[in-house]
Symmetry: C2
Subunit: 191 residues, 2 copies
């Protein structure tokens, strides 16, 4: 048994470098890279959360280009990955889409952060939880300087910040890297 | 003890989708993401291998912008990562730079591939080797459809393809993701 797993990339509410709440822009390679990672590790959905319709339209246009256009024929592997992508207006919409009739109550939300933002669960523990039975799990990643505090507070669990085994005094990974590593820690065959 | 670790991203000789040998173009986010991953996991060098001077100039310009320009002041963390980056004309040049006076013979080269391309070492074994004593290790990543056969053949070891624990029939990760996962498997604190 393993639980259904989905990921979400949030563009609002996000912190900027000064700790203010902002909305970030869609980045093309975030669409591609996280979709490919999601597909590799068997996630069923990749929600791209953006409150602005024109930005969600951009996501739809990128995906269409690869799902139905000439690029999809040229690189069929990419098409399969981008089929997991859905633009949604809010994290709540992602939860509703994943939870079905049960909505928010039917989903477990795990947030990620590069800094210590509260009591976190370790990766082995998280992996074990995911391998058991239970609600679908939505893993939430932030853009910019990370998820805003209300998103962290409303989560069911916080995943531990990603670090090297040695103390390198640095963990400023791109969200593309952080998502890949998180999925590998939770579902990778690392032997 | 742990051995010195460096990474290289190769743009030639690279396979294209038809198996022909080509030269790929520099991608801005490859420069950034791999530098941030390298810095996070304590790699000492990130060699960007490109035979064309104008493309190496582009790498230099990107790095300068972040190391010395206004962006470095705005995001000092990025500056620290991009300080690891060096453009070189060939993989041999990367080996010479890493090996010092001893050159190629003083470096161990481990290549990565998404497909089975020969007898590979597992990740736990590779991690143990890296934690011991020995020559500096250069981990080599390909762009496009992967490293050309001569690069694979000349390596000291091949790292196993990255897969999920469950059989998802898919492992088409971006090189940004593959590099992050590889470094995490070799040097991450995954508990």
């Amino acid at each position: 048994m393993t639980r259904r797993l989905a990921i979400a990339l949030v563009h609002h509410p996000i912190l900027d470098s000064k700790g203010e709440i902002v909305t970030t822009a869609i980045t093309n390679l975030d669409v591609h890279d996280l979709a490919r990672s999601a597909r590799t590790y068997g996630a069923t959905d990749y929600f791209i959360v953006h409150p602005i319709q024109a930005q969600r339209d951009l996501v739809a246009r990128i995906c269409e280009h690869w799902r139905e256009g000439s690029s999809g024929k040229r690189i069929p592997d990419r098409k399969v990955a981008l089929e997991l992508v859905r633009g949604v207006a809010s994290l709540e919409d992602a939860m509703m889409a994943l939870g079905g009739d049960g909505g928010r109550a039917s989903v477990e939300v795990w947030v990620t952060a590069a800094r210590d933002v509260g009591a976190a669960i370790g990766w082995r523990e998280a992996r074990a939880r995911l391998e058991g039975e239970g609600k679908p799990v939505l893993i939430v990643f932030g853009t910019g300087w990370g998820l805003a505090p209300p998103v962290i507070r409303s989560a069911d669990a916080i995943l531990a910040p990603i670090h090297a085994a040695l103390d390198t005094q640095y963990n400023h990974l791109s969200v593309r890297s952080a998502c890949s590593i998180a999925l590998d820690r939770l579902r990778g065959a690392g032997a």
